[in-house]
């Protein structure tokens, strides 16, 4: 009998617990419904985000290809310009040499004409011809202007060549940018990996692009005043080697 009473008491308790559970459930269900609605709404959005990441990810190899193409093109153009500068410099050296040769020959002709003038002092017509001939010798007069112009060509050519070193600096900066882009691509790939079970997509290297490794470029490379920065380095070397600054100053003085 007692057992039957206990069973009813226990049943009552269980029903009470069940009732409480229904009350709690009644409170939670609207929240769960909202969560389900939210997940249903956000699902397509997540797909869109994933597609956008995939799209951006797919464009990255193209971007790195473009950067490498730009680097190659500027490298090619720069070496071609340097070839031309080299040719201009060689030609200018040759021209200077030829001019000096001609100047030396003109000096010899002048000496001969001076001797000739002494021999024809009695012949006014011949004397006049010698004088006319002497007047035709103009290289000596043109020496200063010509030398100045040739020196300027050489200096300009050298300055252009120095300025072209900016290409090397640009290449290093572009390599740094490429490295950065590839790091972003890796991150995007890992995000996509989280969304799906696909493998991490690698950069399409169909064009044989040389992907810059960190350390092959100077991330802080800049085209700055070469004299001032070299001066600082020279000072450091002088301090460690006891080399004379006068030697360096003489060169640029």
């Amino acid at each position: 009998m007692n057992n039957g009473k206990n069973d009813f008491t226990s049943l009552g308790k269980k029903l009470e617990e069940l009732k409480e559970l229904f009350v709690v459930g009644g409170k939670i269900i609207p929240g769960i419904e909202k969560l389900v609605d939210f997940m249903t709404e956000i699902g397509p959005l997540l797909v869109n985000i994933n597609n956008s990441i995939e799209e951006s990810n797919a464009k990255i190899p193209k971007a790195t290809d473009h950067i490498v193409d730009v680097t190659s093109a500027t490298e090619l153009a720069t070496t071609e310009i340097l070839d031309l500068i080299d040719a201009i410099s060689s030609n200018t050296f040759e021209l200077t040499h030829t001019f000096n040769d001609a100047l030396s020959k003109e000096g010899e002709i002048k000496e001969i004409l001076t001797e000739l003038a002494l021999l024809v002092t009695d012949n006014s017509e011949a004397k006049e011809l010698v004088e006319k001939l002497s007047e035709k010798l103009v290289l000596e007069k043109a020496k200063a202007k010509t030398t100045e112009a040739l020196d300027k060509i050489l200096m300009d050519a050298t300055n252009i060549a120095i300025a072209l070193q900016v290409q090397d600096i640009t290449t290093q900066q572009l390599a740094a940018v490429n490295h950065l882009i590839l790091s972003v691509q890796k991150k995007l790939s890992s995000l996509m990996f989280d969304f799906s079970d696909d493998e991490v997509k690698q950069v399409d290297n169909s064009k044989g692009v040389v992907v810059p490794e960190e350390g092959n470029f100077d991330m802080n490379a800049s085209f700055h005043n070469q004299v001032s920065s070299q001066d600082d380095i020279d000072k450091m070397i002088i301090e460690s080697n006891n080399t004379s600054q006068d030697d360096i100053d003489k060169l640029f003085g």
Binding site: A163, Q167, D218, Q226
Partner: protein
């Protein structure tokens, strides 16, 4: 006989510019695109001086200098660093492992000629 200068730099522009700066002085210039190629060229080239960049693929400038200095055959070959890295730390490191001079890019042809003339003529 022409003195031989080995230029190690991955930038064709810089290799060309160094050649432009020094070839007119009668030096024979041979070039390598990285430290590895430079080390391969050394035994057969009778090199009198090395000019090297620091940032290079495969074997970088620091490794090249170390390898050269560890080899008895080239221990006395002068080495000039030519790099865009110009921090005190890089310069000290370069000189401490055996480089003789340090030039920062961009450089003046007169300056490189002067540095080279300190060791060979």
């Amino acid at each position: 006989m022409k003195k031989v200068i080995l230029v190690a730099d991955d930038s064709p522009t810089i290799r060309k510019f160094v050649t432009f700066s020094l070839a007119a002085k009668g030096f024979k210039i041979i070039s390598a695109t990285d430290g590895m190629e430079a080390l391969e060229l050394l035994p057969s080239s009778n090199v009198d001086l090395i000019i090297t960049d620091l940032n290079m693929p495969n074997v970088d400038g620091f490794e090249l200098i170390q390898a050269v200095r560890e080899n008895d055959a080239y221990v006395d070959v002068p080495i000039i660093i030519l790099s865009s890295l110009g921090s005190e730390k890089d310069i000290e490191r370069g000189l401490s492992i055996g480089a003789n001079s340090y030039l920062v890019k961009p450089f003046d042809p007169k300056k490189i000629n002067y540095e080279v003339s300190k060791y060979i003529s």
